[in-house]
């Protein structure tokens, strides 16, 4: 919950993401996109943030055991935060590389997990932090300056 102190300067939009539920994949990022429009983020930034939130959400659906995607609005920046409860990424640097995917063969056959998620997010974000602990989970924070 946000404190009433900061409440007027930040706005938070949050959605729970369920692992492997492709029928609802994209709902979190839809909600985020709508709020970007309501807050009046311009076309170019809107698209970059929309791509980040979609890829981050898909990462949660495909690779994680479930988690939550949220968007925090500040007057000068927007943060997309994807937090999951595992399994964690063994080698974060490697996962950032183009073409590297930890998706299982099943998922690759479905046409997802071609390993473009993280590099794509990196391209669209001004600043990207990924913290991961095996067995615990991953937190991704992508910042876009307005």
């Amino acid at each position: 919950m946000m404190s009433s102190e900061t409440a007027t300067h930040t706005h938070i939009v949050k959605t729970e993401v369920l692992a492997m539920h492709f029928e609802r994949a994209g709902e979190g990022s839809s909600k985020i996109k709508k709020s970007l429009q309501l807050i009046g983020i311009g076309p170019e930034l809107l698209r970059r943030i929309a791509i980040i939130s979609y890829e981050a959400e898909m990462n949660l659906v495909i690779h994680s055991l479930g988690g939550e995607i949220s968007c925090e609005f500040y007057p000068d920046q927007v943060k997309i935060i994807a937090k999951d409860h595992g399994p964690g990424i063994a080698n974060v640097e490697q996962a950032m590389l183009e073409g590297f995917s930890t998706a299982t063969d099943d998922i690759r056959e479905m046409g997802f997990g071609a390993g473009i998620g993280l590099p794509n997010i990196k391209r669209c974000a001004d600043y990207l932090e990924v913290e991961s602990t095996l067995g615990i989970g991953t937190t991704l924070v992508a910042t876009v300056y307005l």
């Binding site: 706005h11 996109k33 076309p43 007057p75 307005l146």
Partner: protein, 411 residues
């Protein structure tokens, strides 16, 4: 900027049922006692016209009496008209009937469709990279401006058949010795979106077309005239591919693009635009989009069932056949296809131009939203609980009107 829109409510027919509220892709409708359309949001897609059981929504168009303002009157029948009548009505007579209706000349829009197809083909030939989105359905263009402003650059910058036909008609009138103010050019339209495209064009200051009549309004008269001997048939001058534009897929056929997708119906168009926005769907060359199911044969201002009309148009197009010859493009000045002004985004949802204010409004909306059930049932007259909360914060509604409200808003 004031936005023109053509879809209107006929109050006396509206019983306030709220059915239209939920189908509007831009959340433009609220029902208080009766439905109200928020003008800046309406993209004239016609969904509310289709869904209203009381026929309370309608597209405002011109009427035949407006012909009296001009000396030389030219009709531009949309190709969708050929799907409206059964086997017993000769298509040549459909064109001829416009002379009986009081016009002096007819310019077959299918011919303009041919030219536009060739012009699009040229643009595609030199194009690499992200796919182009077709820009012929004015409702789709407005949806892009409103909800997908960053995709404006993907709309193919080629004038629509409507404007190209308008310029052809103007040339014809001038050639006959009339002055431009004496020439009245009327589009015979399947939809209110094309009325809006004439009254407030997106890629030019003023349309060459002077007025718009709807197919549904003229239907009865055309049917009658085509049955009489006084109505002289007029030759169909376009190739089959030109007439094919009336149905979804016809444009792609005419530009001979096989690496394409065709999407019809505003809901599906909305979905695909979203996919394009997040960088999917890069592996095709052309994306043909129509607001109406079936394409213009499914327009809100036509009479016939869209599936039947679609088959008829296909049959007509196939029976005429023929190929498009690139040399033909030399018949019209190249600038006819140019956009004269840049397309601008239309930020309709934005809370406030100041981001701090916008954020604080978002939080106030959230506070109210936390007290609403989130059913998005529409009973309050707004499409979603969020929209209702926004209306309250922005002062367009005085009271939270929720039939299920859990508890009073704290503030």
């Amino acid at each position: 900027m004031e936005y023109f829109h053509s879809v209107q409510l006929r109050e006396k027919f509206c019983n306030g049922c709220t059915l239209c509220v939920k189908v509007c892709p831009t959340e433009a409708i609220r029902v208080k006692e009766k439905a109200e359309i928020i003008g800046s949001r309406c993209i004239d897609c016609g969904e509310c016209i289709r869904v209203c059981p009381n026929h309370a929504k309608t597209g405002k168009v011109d009427s035949l009496t407006d012909l009296e303002n001009y000396k030389y009157k030219i009709a531009l029948p949309d190709p969708a008209i050929f799907g409206q009548f059964g086997k017993t009505v000769n298509p040549n007579k459909i064109l001829g009937s416009f002379m009986s209706l009081g016009f002096d000349e007819v310019v077959d829009v299918a011919l303009a469709c041919e030219y536009v197809s060739l012009a699009i083909k040229q643009v595609l030939r030199n194009h690499k990279g992200v796919p182009f989105i077709s820009a012929s359905c004015p409702a789709v263009i407005r949806l892009v401006q409103a909800l997908y402003p960053d995709l404006i650059k993907y709309l193919i910058p080629v004038e629509s058949p409507l404007e190209v036909a308008g310029q052809m008609a103007l040339d014809l009138g001038l050639m006959k010795g009339y002055e431009s103010h004496e020439i009245g050019i009327f589009y015979i339209s399947p939809c209110p979106a094309k009325m809006t495209a004439v009254k407030q064009p997106v890629a030019r200051e003023i349309s060459t077309v002077n007025g718009v009549l709807s197919i549904v309004d003229l239907y009865g008269n055309i049917l009658k005239f085509t049955q009489t001997d006084k109505c002289k048939p007029k030759d169909l001058k376009a190739k089959g591919l030109g007439y094919g534009w009336a149905r979804a897929g016809g444009e792609s056929l005419a530009i001979s693009c096989s690496d394409n997708v065709v999407i019809d119906g505003i809901e599906q168009v909305n979905k695909i635009l979203r996919e394009i926005e997040i960088g999917k769907l890069t592996d095709v060359e052309y994306i043909e989009c129509w607001a109406c199911v079936g394409g213009c044969v499914g327009g809100p201002a036509v009479v016939e069932n869209p599936f039947i009309a679609r088959v008829r148009v296909r049959k007509l197009a196939e029976s005429i056949g023929g190929a498009l010859d690139e040399q033909k493009l030399l018949e019209v000045p190249p600038q006819y296809f140019d956009w004269q002004t840049a397309l601008k985004p239309r930020q309709i949802l934005k809370y406030d131009s100041d981001i701090l204010n916008a954020i604080s409004i978002a939080n106030k909306v959230q506070e109210i939203l936390d007290c609403l059930p989130g059913f998005d049932c529409g009973a309050c007259g707004a499409p979603t609980c969020r929209a209702h909360a926004e209306d309250k914060i922005q002062g367009t509604t005085q009271e939270i009107n929720c039939v299920f409200q859990k508890k009073e808003s704290k503030k």
